[in-house]
Each structure stands twice: as structure tokens, then as C-alpha cells.
């Protein structure tokens, strides 16, 4: 029995069914998602790859409750997002989801420590004892807790964002190109943190990236093209991912479409 088979039997932490997202209408209509069905198994680190404009961010936004599907359904655990109003979606994001964006992840007026506990503070709940301390040690910024984001480097800012995403013990952490603006060393640190989150702390992590090296940190890679799920790859390596990506530019693109 492969590891993948074991994981498949566990209920997914998040999933979409026949997801369609259409922007605009008429001549300007764009089908950003064109019937995607995918689940994100709990406790796994999944990467979403695909060429620019293929719908990676859209998929992530829709499954994370930041945007709504045109048709189809999205779930976090058993909760169908389409039935939720703005307030319930907000509460869901705050309690069950963690976010890491490509840039502008932190509130500039808050200190590092305040940024980490922001979702908890917004909910008015106390963090789990020891957890925050542990996260601070993991990201290695104990001496920077009272600093403002503008006093940190890009890599440090992203590490703080990861800590914030994990502070509330969310069901799923979504990261959209978290290393997009970083040099390779800082990027590697952030990816390690995300890997730890899944494998060490048992969180479900979904990461959008177009960097094969980043994708190789994941347990599985999903490939999107033109709003469709075209392939998946278990235990990826950077080289295999790169090879697969190259195919998108070749004739196989036609194949994927049909």
C-alpha cells in the first residue's frame, strides 16, 4: 500500500466539485475555472501548479471563501461555502483557514507579535497555551516581536505570515505564491515552515506556485491549465515537475484540453 492510497481514504479537509468561475460576460467573458473537481486531503501538503492565468489563484480564492463560484460547490470540511453569507464566511476564514499571500501579508501598524495573533484577536479568543511561543521559535524571530513589518526583510515578513496562518490551528492553510517575491534561501525557509506545518503539526496546506522547486516540497502537485485540472503528481521532484510543465508549452497542451 502506498502512502498516497492511505491518505486518499481520509476525509478531505477541503474540496471543490465541478467548480466553474466565469469573470465578465459576453465578449469579455473569461472562464477562469472550467469544471474543476479536486479534494485536498487532511494533513497533506498540496501544491497547485500551472501556467500564468490558468486559474490557480481563482481556485484557491474560491475554496478559501474569499470568492464565490459561478457554479459547482466548494467545501471546507463538511461546510458548503456557497450557502454562507459574508459574515459566516468571514468567521470561517478567521477560525478554520490560515492565509499566506505573495506580498503585503502584514498590517503595517501592528507589531510582529500582534500580527501573529491578529485572527485570534479579531475573534476575541485566547491562543492555545504554548502554541504562539512555539511558532515564534519555529520562525526564529523572538528578538523581533516588537518590530513593525517595515523593519523586517521580505523573508522575515513571510515567516511571520506563516506563523499568523498557523496561530489559530486552522483546518487548512492556503498560500498563494508565498515565495514569489523571495530569494531562494528565504524561499526555502518559508517552504520548510509550510512542510513542517503539514508533517509536524498535521495541518492541511495548499500552496499555489509556479516554481517547480517550491512544488517539490509538497506531497502532491495538481496541474491546472485553462481552468481545468489536467494532471496530478505524487511525491514530486523539481525535475519531474519541470518536465511536466514543459509539456504545457508543447503539443500535449491540445491533448490536455480535449
Amino acid at each position: 500500500m502506498t502512502a498516497a492510497d492511505t491518505v486518499r481514504t481520509i476525509a478531505p479537509a477541503a474540496q471543490v466539485r465541478d467548480a466553474v468561475k466565469v469573470y465578465g460576460s459576453g465578449d469579455t467573458e473569461v472562464r477562469a475555472l472550467d469544471g474543476v473537481t479536486v479534494d485536498f486531503p487532511a494533513g497533506r501538503f498540496t501544491a497547485i501548479m500551472g501556467p500564468s492565468g490558468s486559474g490557480k489563484s481563482t481556485l484557491m480564492h474560491c475554496v478559501a471563501g474569499l470568492d464565490t463560484l459561478t457554479s459547482g460547490s466548494a467545501y471546507i470540511g463538511d461546510t458548503e461555502l456557497g450557502t454562507l453569507g459574508d459574515r459566516q464566511l468571514t468567521l470561517l476564514r478567521r477560525e478554520r483557514i490560515g492565509f499566506v499571500f505573495q506580498s503585503f501579508n502584514l498590517v503595517p501598524t501592528l507589531t510582529v507579535a500582534e500580527n501573529i495573533t491578529l485572527p485570534l484577536d479579531l475573534a476575541g479568543t485566547r491562543p492555545e497555551p504554548g502554541l504562539i511561543d512555539e511558532l515564534i521559535d519555529v520562525i526564529g524571530l523572538r528578538d523581533r516581536l516588537r518590530h513593525r513589518p517595515s523593519q523586517l526583510s521580505g523573508g522575515q515578513q513571510q515567516r511571520v505570515a506563516v506563523a499568523r496562518a498557523l496561530a489559530g490551528r486552522p483546518d487548512v492553510v492556503f498560500a498563494d505564491e508565498p515565495t514569489g517575491n523571495l530569494d531562494s534561501r528565504s524561499g526555502a525557509e518559508v517552504l520548510e515552515l509550510l512542510g513542517d506545518a503539514a508533517h509536524g503539526m498535521g495541518r492541511t496546506v495548499v500552496m499555489v506556485t509556479h516554481d517547480p522547486v517550491a512544488a517539490s516540497h509538497a506531497d502532491e502537485v495538481l496541474f491546472l491549465a485553462d481552468g481545468r485540472l489536467v494532471d496530478r503528481m505524487e511525491r514530486p521532484t523539481a525535475d519531474r515537475v519541470l518536465d511536466r510543465m514543459k509539456e504545457f508549452d508543447g503539443p500535449s497542451r491540445q491533448e490536455a484540453r480535449s
Partner: protein, 857 residues
């Protein structure tokens, strides 16, 4: 590629930018529009009032070619038009013999207040209540019969149509005319004045010549003046030249034109200028507040546009082109908003014209009159304020380095420099010291004003530095009470100290002026209260508004009648007279000096008030010191009848709060008096008489003397101060606009800030801030800014109020009072206003698209 060559490019940039940022200039537009509307409205209303009054007097006085009157007029400074002695009515016959004279008639003008159908006196709360003789010659009489007929028998009167309407009186009705002695009269006719229902809001009653002589003049055969009509072909000048030789010494003749001009000047000069100046001052305050708001908007908008401007510079635009395009933008907003403001002004003027008569304010009907000045000046001020406010930010925009395009727009951290802190603190220290210096000892208005201005300016300079500390302190409980939402609001308010301060400064100025007047008003009230409680030793006061303020005063027979009551120990009537002492007009208190000491506390008295008789007067110690008088000194009083008499100073008393500076016995005043009236009757009860019984007895007797107000000591003290409340209400109403403009400024700044923080707000929403929390965050920021402005304004205003009270107080008798309840109300209103100002930006922020923040560029 953009072709940037010269002014046209600048212009094109401005237009494009205006179009793109229309919403962001909405606040500026409104601020200019409101300020200009107020200014223009005030000026246009002044124009209209002046024109209407001029027409009114010209129409009414049109038939009078000359007016004969006593040449001697004694005026007391600050007390209106002065008092002119009557002329001998027998002069009429001599004047009629002068060739070229068509008609001449005695004209008697006094005060008489009619009682309306409901038993309440008509008018008497400002505009005069005129009573006179009905002149048969319709050209000489400014009033014309509109209905009914002229008075033909004693007791018959004609009243102006406006008066009849207000009192709900009709022809055939019988009522009472207070002259101040109550006279029963029957209305036989209604009259118009210059085609209107009356002379503005003044009431008019015309009686027979006999009645008028009897009730309004000290002696029969006297007239206030003699209007004359010329034969056709005789000019006013010729008429005057012919009449002058037949007049005795002390009597003069002037042309009808001059008489009309004098009436017009009396109204425009006293009432109108005061009124319009007051309004202009408040329009100025509103515009000052607007200046801060506008400056702030431009500063923010241009800071937000740093990148665009830098890009333009990188593409080759010169500094001047960037500056020029910004200024053209400001100019466009200024011109459009100011022009709209002119229309707003017309609306305000027309609205006031319709509103004022409804609240009993004199405002003759007529078309809206608009002078060129009233169009040009507000337009110029609006444009100047707007472009002037944009100048500094525009220069800064022009200086944008092309490289700034490449940098991330930094948060504005300026404004908290050490230089500013030092300048602000030392400015305030110097200002306060100067004010205190000016206000202490012998107060110097000039020094105090300079100190006050310096303090106010230093407050504004210190604003950005103070904003940091103040918001930290004011916001501290917020962070504790409202959790992270409160903490975020506080941090946001702290973000651009300069911006927060500039936003709050506008409100601070508004609140400071409100507080200044509140404190000043409270101090005046306290002073009056103190005066009455210190000086009024009687049990009840009977009063009626006097001459100058309309009304007819009290009958001099009231005091003797009250004195006869078994409950009453002493009842003293206080009348007013004028005389010239040492060349200056002085107000005299006419009373029974001996009894006066029993109802008023005069303090220490040197000499004796008893038996001043016709040869002596009593003076206050203040006047005595000024003229170096002591008991036994002599001085000459010149009366309006031209006579002069030497008086001995029989007594010097310490407290002249109610008694005035000069007390003269009734019998000494009698030969020189005009219409006889008392303004106050002070009554003390016999021992053992309860306040309620005594008051009821006094009221019962007073009822037959025109039903004047009877008040206990406390009531009297309170009502003396009631005029101040009316003034305060007016001032608050006028200041409301400045406060509204300041709030618009807060709304505007916040709207711009929300726009600026789009990504951050989106991030907050993404990680779990609910819409309600976001709205609360913006609202609390607004409240914090408003709180800073309000608290600063309260402090500054209270200080300036203190300075004003002290500077205006030459005698040291003025009380300084801080009314806590009113100031708390001001604070609460400021905070609530902050909530209101934050509503719109909060709603906008909550509508923001979460994904805008998340989407990568």
C-alpha cells in the same frame, strides 16, 4: 506617448486628473461651496435689508421737505440715538407764515405699547413701540390710513396694520395702551407705512394731538419735531433757508432728505452694521475652518499621487508643469465651487428673508438686492481660499523627485519634528504669558488679543506633535475596551500625525469658538446674577422693558401705589434720564434716593442719600474717583432742554451695579424730563409678610398698570441673564456651519485614507475581520480625531474665553464662570459628530472587495 510641452499639457493633465479624482474633491468642493454660500448670503442679505429700509424711509419721509427740531441731543455712549428735547409747538404758527411753506404740523413721538387681544403686550422685544399724534396732512404723515378713519376724539387711535395683526386687534376693538400709564383706547383705523404693514417690526399707535400731548409729552404744547411741506416750486434748500431765521436759539431746521438719510443711517449704522458684521465674522470662521479642510485634502490627494507625479517628472515634465497642473486643478474646483456658492448665497438670503419675519425679526419684504461687491468678493475669497490652501501641497508636488516613482510610497512621518515641538510649546508659553499680562491689573485689550492670537496660532503649530500624544492618551481606553478593533483605530489615527492634526484643527477652531462664547456667556450670566444678588436688597422686582429696547417701561404711578399696600415696606421706582456731565452724556437714575438704600445695596455710602432734594446728586465711588469728587464737591449738569444746573455731590456710594453711576431725585429731574417712565420698581416687604403673599399683592396692584412682570429676587436675577441665552442660541446656530465644514473635513480625510489603505483593509478582511468590525474600526478612528479636535478646542476656547472676560473687564466686577454641563455637552456633541463623520467612510470601507488586497500586481 504623452506630449508635454508647456501650459496646454498642464491643463490637459489637470482636467484628466480632476475627472479621475472627482470623488476625492467632493469634500473640498462642499467646503468651498458652504463657506462662500454663507459669506455671499450674509452680504446679499445686508444689501437687501439696507435697500428695503432705504426705500421704506424714503417713501415714508417723502412728503416732508423740512424738519424743525431741537438742536441739542444728548447721547450716552453705547445707548442708541440719544435724547432730543421737545420743541415748542406754537412755533408751528410762525412757520406756517413763512412764504413757501404749504403745511407744518407738530409731530409727537413717544413710546406706547399696545396690549393685544390675549392680554399680552405687543412687541417690545427689540424694535421700538412707537406712539404719536396722528397728523392730518397726509403728505407730512408717514403713515397712511388703509382702513377706517383718523382719530377724532380722545381715546380713539389708529394702529399700523402689522401691529393690529400681531395683537389680533380689529377696528372697533377697545384695548389698553401703556404710555406707560395705561390708557384705554379704541381702534378706529388701520395704517400703512411707506406702503408696508409697518416700519419693519416696530409697532405704531396714532392718537389725537390732545391725547399725545397728555400722555407722551412732559408738558402740553410740546412737540418732538415739526415736519414742514413746501409749496410747489420751492426747493428743500430754499425752504430751510427761509425757515431758519424765524427759529429761536436751540432749534434747528434740516431738509427732508437729510432727515431721511439720518433715519436710514440710524438703522443701517446701528442695527444693520452690527448684524451683518456679526454674520460676516461667523462666515469668516467658517471659511477659516474650510481653509484647513481644503488644505488637508489637497495635501493628501497630492501625497497619494506622488507616484504619478514622479512618473510624469521621469517622462520629462518640468517642476513648473507639475505645479501648474496642480494649481489649475485647484483653480477649477475653486471657481466651480465658488460660483455654486453664489447661488447658495442667494438661496440663503432668500430663505432668511422668508424666515426672519416669522421669528419676529425686522426684515421688510421686497426683492432680493445683490450688489456687485456681494458677487465679486465672495467669489474672490472662495477662489483665494481654495487656491491658497492648495499652494503649499502643489509646490511640494512640483518638487517630487523622478525617482519617487520607483519607491514604495512611504507613510508620512513628518510633522513631529523637534523644531515644531519647540516652536509650538514656546509659542503657547509666550502667548499664555502675554494674555495673562494683558488680562491682569489694568486690562489691555490689545495685549490680551495679541496673546490670544499667538496662543491660537501656537496651538495649530503644535497640533501634529500634540496629536501623537493626545491620540495615544485618548485612545488608550479604546484599545482596552474594543480590543483589536480599537487598537487598530488608534494606530490608524496615529499614522499621519500631520494629517490627523490638520483634520482635527478645523474642528478645534470651530469648537474653540463655541467654547469661547459658552464660557463668555456663562461669565456674563454669572456676573449679572452676582450683580443682582449683591445689589438687590428688595423682595420683588417689577420690571418692563424700557425705551431703547422697545416697550414703554413702567408707570411712575406704580411705585407710589405699591408703597400704599399693607404688605409693602418700601417701593422705589427707578427711572432713567440723561444729562451731560463734564461734556460727556451720562445716564442718570431717577429715584427717591432716600428710599433707594432700603431696596438696593449701595455698599458703603459717604454723606447722606436723604434729602438730596433739587440741589444735590449722589454718585458712584468710581465716578467720584474719576472726577476727583468728594461729598460737598459741585458739578454742572446740562439737560436736553438746554438748561444747566449746578449740583452738589450729596453722597458717594460704592456699588453702582443696579443704581448706576448717578442718582438724581425725582423732583430735581422733573423740570427736564421727557416722557415719564420707570424701568424698575424695587419692593421690599414688611417683616412677617411671606414672599408668596407679598408677591401676590404686588401682582394684583400691578395688573392695573399694564400687567408688568413681577419677580422674586432669584427670578429677577435669572431673567436678567435670559437675553444672553438668546444671544448664545444665535451664535451656536451661526457656528453650526463651521462645525459641519470641519466634520466634512474628517469625512473627507477618512475617505481618502480608506482609499489609500485598500490592500490593508482587504488583508484584514481576508484574515477574519468582519464588516461590522471594519466599520467600527473606521468609526472609532473618526471619533478619536474628533475627540482630539474637540478636547483641544475646549481647552483653547476656555482659555480664550477667560482672556476675553478679563480683557473686557475694566472694573474687576466681572465673574469668570466655566459652565461644566454645557462644556460636557459640547464634548459629547463633538464625539457624536465624530461618529457621524465616520459613517460614510466606514460604509465605503466595508464595501471594499477583499480580493483587491489579495490579488498580486
Amino acid at each position: 506617448m504623452m506630449a508635454i510641452n508647456g501650459g496646454r499639457a498642464s491643463l490637459r493633465l489637470s482636467v484628466a486628473s480632476l475627472r479621475a479624482h472627482r470623488r476625492r474633491f467632493a469634500g473640498t468642493f462642499l467646503a468651498v461651496l458652504l463657506g462662500v454660500s454663507f459669506l455671499a448670503g450674509t452680504m446679499m442679505m445686508g444689501d437687501t435689508l439696507r435697500a428695503s429700509f432705504n426705500t421704506l424711509f424714503a417713501n415714508a419721509g417723502g412728503g416732508r421737505d423740512a424738519v424743525v427740531r431741537s438742536s441739542d441731543v444728548i447721547s450716552v455712549s453705547g445707548k442708541g440715538q440719544g435724547v432730543r428735547q421737545p420743541v415748542d409747538a406754537t412755533l408751528v404758527r410762525q412757520i406756517q407764515k413763512v412764504p413757501g411753506v404749504a403745511a407744518a404740523a407738530p409731530d409727537i413721538e413717544g413710546a406706547g405699547q399696545l396690549i393685544g387681544k390675549d392680554g399680552q403686550p405687543i412687541g417690545g422685544k427689540g424694535p421700538p413701540t412707537i406712539a404719536g399724534n396722528w397728523i392730518a396732512d397726509s403728505k407730512l404723515n408717514p403713515y397712511q390710513i388703509a382702513q377706517g378713519h383718523a382719530p377724532q376724539a380722545p381715546g380713539q387711535v389708529v394702529v399700523s396694520r402689522g401691529t393690529a395683526t400681531r395683537g389680533n386687534l380689529r377696528i372697533g376693538d377697545t384695548t389698553v395702551l401703556r404710555t406707560p400709564d395705561p390708557v384705554r383706547v379704541t381702534i378706529v383705523g388701520l395704517a400703512t407705512f411707506g406702503g408696508q404693514d409697518g416700519m419693519a417690526q416696530a409697532t405704531y399707535t396714532g392718537m389725537t394731538l390732545g391725547d399725545a400731548e397728555k400722555y407722551l409729552m412732559p408738558r402740553p404744547g410740546d412737540a418732538s419735531s415739526i415736519p414742514v411741506r413746501a409749496d410747489s416750486g420751492v426747493s428743500q434748500r430754499q425752504l430751510v433757508d427761509r425757515i431758519a431765521p424765524v427759529l429761536p436759539k436751540g432749534v434747528e431746521v434740516i431738509t427732508g432728505e437729510r432727515a431721511t438719510a439720518e433715519s436710514q443711517r440710524d438703522v443701517s449704522g446701528q442695527f444693520l452694521s452690527l448684524f451683518t458684521t456679526l454674520l460676516l465674522v461667523f462666515a469668516g470662521i467658517a471659511l477659516l475652518v474650510a481653509t484647513f479642510s481644503i488644505h488637508n485634502t489637497f495635501a493628501i490627494v497630492l501625497a497619494q499621487r506622488t507616484r504619478d507625479n514622479a512618473l510624469l517628472r521621469a517622462l520629462g515634465a518640468s517642476r513648473r508643469q507639475v505645479l501648474g497642473s496642480t494649481l489649475v486643478e485647484a483653480l477649477a474646483v475653486a471657481v466651480i465651487a465658488s460660483t455654486a456658492g453664489l447661488f447658495g448665497g442667494m438661496g440663503i438670503a432668500a430663505g432668511l428673508q422668508a424666515l426672519f419675519p416669522a421669528v419676529g425679526f425686522p426684515f421688510p419684504s421686497g426683492n432680493l438686492v445683490i450688489s456687485t461687491t456681494s458677487l465679486v468678493l465672495p467669489l474672490a475669497v472662495g477662489v483665494l481660499v481654495c487656491v491658497g490652501s492648495a499652494l503649499l501641497p502643489a509646490v511640494r508636488a512640483g518638487r517630487t523627485a523622478p525617482l519617487a516613482a520607483l519607491r514604495e510610497t512611504a507613510v508620512d512621518e513628518s510633522g513631529t519634528s523637534r523644531l515644531r515641538a519647540v516652536a509650538g510649546v514656546s509659542g503657547i508659553a509666550a502667548g499664555v504669558a502675554l494674555t495673562a499680562l494683558g488680562a491682569s491689573g489694568t486690562p489691555s485689550v490689545l495685549v490680551t488679543a495679541a496673546g490670544a492670537a499667538l496662543t491660537a496660532a501656537a496651538f495649530i503649530v503644535l497640533g501634529p506633535v500634540a496629536a501623537g500624544y493626545a491620540i495615544r492618551v485618548l485612545g488608550a481606553p479604546l484599545a482596552r475596551l474594543r480590543g483589536v478593533t480599537g487598537a487598530l483605530a488608534r494606530r490608524n489615527a496615529l499614522r499621519g500625525a500631520k494629517r490627523t492634526a490638520a483634520t482635527a484643527t478645523a474642528l478645534m477652531i470651530g469648537v474653540a469658538v463655541v467654547t469661547l462664547f459658552t464660557v463668555f456667556g456663562a461669565s456674563l450670566k454669572a456676573t449679572l446674577n452676582q450683580t443682582v444678588s449683591r445689589s438687590f436688597a428688595g423682595d420683588v422686582a417689577v420690571s418692563a422693558p424700557a425705551f431703547g429696547a422697545g416697550g414703554s417701561g413702567l408707570s411712575p404711578k406704580l411705585a407710589p401705589a405699591l408703597a400704599k399696600l399693607p404688605q409693602v415696606n418700601t417701593a422705589v421706582g427707578l427711572g432713567k434720564g440723561v444729562a451731560r456731565v463734564d461734556g460727556a452724556g451720562r445716564q442718570l437714575t431717577v429715584a427717591d434716593p432716600g428710599a433707594l438704600g432700603r431696596v438696593l445695596d449701595l455698599g458703603k455710602v459717604d454723606g447722606s442719600l436723604n434729602g438730596l432734594g433739587t440741589q444735590a446728586i449722589a454718585v458712584s465711588s468710581g465716578q467720584a474717583a474719576k472726577h476727583r469728587w468728594r461729598v460737598g464737591s459741585t458739578t454742572t449738569l446740562r439737560f436736553t432742554d438746554g438748561s444747566a444746573q449746578r449740583f452738589t455731590v450729596g453722597a458717594v456710594y460704592q456699588q453702582g451695579d443696579l443704581a448706576g453711576d448717578y442718582v438724581i431725585a425725582r423732583q430735581a429731574w422733573e423740570p427736564h424730563r421727557t416722557q415719564d417712565t420707570d424701568t424698575l420698581v424695587a419692593v421690599s416687604f414688611r417683616p412677617g409678610v411671606s414672599a408668596a403673599d407679598g408677591k401676590a399683592a404686588v401682582e394684583h396692584t400691578a395688573a392695573s398698570y399694564g400687567n408688568p412682570t413681577v419677580q422674586t429676587r432669584a427670578e429677577y436675577a435669572k431673567s436678567s441673564a435670559s437675553g444672553i441665552n438668546t444671544m448664545l442660541t444665535l451664535v451656536y446656530a451661526l457656528l453650526a456651519l463651521a462645525v459641519v465644514i470641519a466634520l466634512l473635513g474628517i469625512t473627507n480625510t477618512l475617505t481618502l485614507a480608506v482609499y489609500e489603505r485598500t490592500r490593508e483593509l482587504g488583508l484584514l478582511r481576508a484574515v477574519g475581520q468582519t464588516r461590522a468590525q471594519l466599520r467600527a474600526m473606521v468609526r472609532w478612528e473618526s471619533v478619536l480625531v474628533a475627540a482630539f479636535g474637540t478636547v483641544g478646542g475646549l481647552g483653547l476656547g476656555a482659555f480664550l474665553g477667560w482672556a476675553l472676560v478679563r480683557a473686557a473687564d475694566a472694573t474687576g466686577a466681572t465673574a469668570f464662570a466655566i459652565p461644566p454641563v454645557q462644556l460636557v455637552v459640547v464634548l459629547l456633541v463633538g464625539l457624536v459628530a465624530g461618529v457621524v463623520a465616520g459613517l460614510r467612510p466606514a460604509r465605503r470601507a466595508a464595501r471594499l472587495d477583499v480580493l483587491r488586497a489579495v490579488a498580486t500586481e
